[in-house]
Symmetry: C2
Subunit: 319 residues, 2 copies
DNA sequence: TTGAAAGCGGTACCAG
DNA sequence: CTGGTACCGCTTTCAA
């Protein structure tokens, strides 16, 4: 027996006032209300269990105070952490986040974008979107996180500097043959960071393996890499590093004794691998904060905002 | 220069028809429209880039076709997997999911519930909610996942049978001193499953340690447990098992040689621990499917629906 | 200080 | 087959 929802009319009637007054009380404005009338209204609200209808409010106001958030995969720890941080950040500013996953599929991504726009989101946050999402006729602010997009504001970690930082750390441990595990095309910066660190130290370029950003991908890459006998490996994502670790264990290699490992990302999972991974940590909270801020403040700039990373030393590098 | 959104009025005017006709075309009903008129309208929609306003539609229809989803922590892999599955399942049925995290805090949880109701969600999915969420005056269907709640429909894995299955497997490997890592109060079933398996095999109860459902909690529990020298450990969650694994590695114990481990949950992370974890897998997809189905079909029953688990044999048990 | 009423965008009934 | 229009719940201007 789902009782009819209580509307503002019911409250007005119960309190013996007009609907306008109820509105003034609920929103604490824009007109003043006599304290005594106010109390009557509040009492009515409590008595009836009235809950304002945000849908109607949104229609009238033209804004939902809702952000749409699309990640390639909610099951990826990095994206989960990012989503969590964005949710928290948005909530703190009175926004709600409609979070959904594109399953790494461009078509699904476009369908989700359309769906979110239909629901009148006040802004769109695209985490690591595909190459070329359909953003025509989008009249709300959009921000890309962890990836640049033409004509769209974006926020991202310092991929190049971060990767260089990680590789330099490996070099400081005395490594001279440092392999790289990196994703497919379209992610040049971490690779460039690795290359730069090696060049600066006048070291030859170690082996490079391209594989998907997944545990499976890292495992496969690790096995391939082992044949080149590197003394250290820089993995461009946590997931890949975890796969590399497995390949190393299976081969009976000691980490960091035989092969040292450093990863890029720094999700919580890396603290509990064996051995714990030394990582270049993405500034997840800062990325979330900046993304939300830009959206709310309607940042016009299409310049990518780059947020610095930091090195977290654990066991896998030899520290 | 955010151009004004195109409304149904603009389309009607452009196509030279009434707004009603536009509505009939967009919704393919409830009245028929002459094919030629239809084409004019579709052309107008395309030309103007019209996108229906779901907010207005929801107001008129009284339903948003949106579910609210609250998890204790979006960063927890199990909840992330569950959320992902629910999102996918709901999308397949034309619903969108408003996903948010309660940060494991009852107050936040209640605030989020209120927030979601305010936004007129068509149903509420509470994943592993706290003891006693405030569900008064909730006029939409609610379903609890992975936890029973008074007077609320719920869906959950077979905790007891699953735990028993895991422990029996350990017993079949010849273990006779099997420790248990379990959460604090309020989760009696996995413990009972462990107890039942031991009793059935006429084995003495091994040591029990209660710790938070986290990697840290598991680590701590593992260290405590080691002092009792068990030959096997059943961890009631993946996260705890991962912590246990670290404690074991630090102590120089071989897994599964010195101590075997089996965990409950079976998130993807367990496939890549060292050694890979044998797990009792929660039927995440089935849980999601049933939760969404019950919500949509307005399941009245308050009986908890129990979905069976299955054992995934990997290395940590000695298989 | 309060009330009446217009209108946000869309739906669907009633007439034609 | 199509047009006109009342109404969903709420905000806010205008008038009282």
């Amino acid at each position: 027996m789902p009782k009819d929802p209580v509307t503002r009319n019911d409250v007005a009637e119960y309190a013996g006032v007009s609907t306008a007054v109820v509105s003034y009380v609920v929103n604490e404005g824009p007109r003043k209300v006599a304290p005594e009338t106010r109390d009557r209204v509040l009492e009515a609200i409590r008595a009836l269990g009235y809950r304002p209808n945000a849908t109607a409010r949104a229609l009238r106001m033209g804004t939902t105070r809702t952000f749409g958030l699309i990640t390639p995969d909610g099951g990826n720890p990095l994206f989960a952490e990012l989503a969590k941080a964005i949710d928290r950040e948005a909530a703190a500013r009175g926004y709600v986040v409609l979070q959904t996953s594109a399953d790494g599929d461009p078509e699904t991504e476009n369908a989700k974008i359309a769906e979110l726009l239909t629901r009148q989101v006040s802004g769109l946050i695209l985490v690591a979107p595909t190459e070329d999402p359909d953003l025509r006729d989008v009249e709300v602010p959009v921000i890309a996180v962890n990836r640049r997009l033409p004509a769209v504001s974006s926020v991202r970690p310092a991929y190049l500097d971060g990767a260089r930082l990680g590789v330099e750390h490996l070099i400081s441990h005395g490594h001279r043959r440092i392999g790289l595990v990196i994703g497919g095309a379209g992610h040049p910066e971490r690779e460039l960071g690795w290359r730069t660190a090696l060049a600066t130290a006048a070291l030859p370029e170690g082996p490079v393996v391209r594989a998907p950003f997944s545990r499976e991908g890292g495992y496969w890459a690790g096995r391939v890499l082992l044949r080149h006998e590197p003394t250290a490996i820089f993995a461009s994502s946590d997931l890949q590093a975890i796969g590399v670790l497995r390949a190393l264990h299976e081969a009976g290699a000691d980490v960091p004794g035989d092969v040292a490992v450093v990863a890029f990302d720094g999700t919580p999972e890396t603290e509990y691998t064996w051995p714990p991974l030394t990582v270049v940590r993405q500034p997840v909270e800062a990325l979330a904060r900046e993304a939300v801020r830009r959206l709310i403040e309607g940042e016009e700039s299409v310049e990518a905002l780059t947020v610095p990373t930091d090195l977290v030393r654990r066991r896998s590098c030899g520290c």
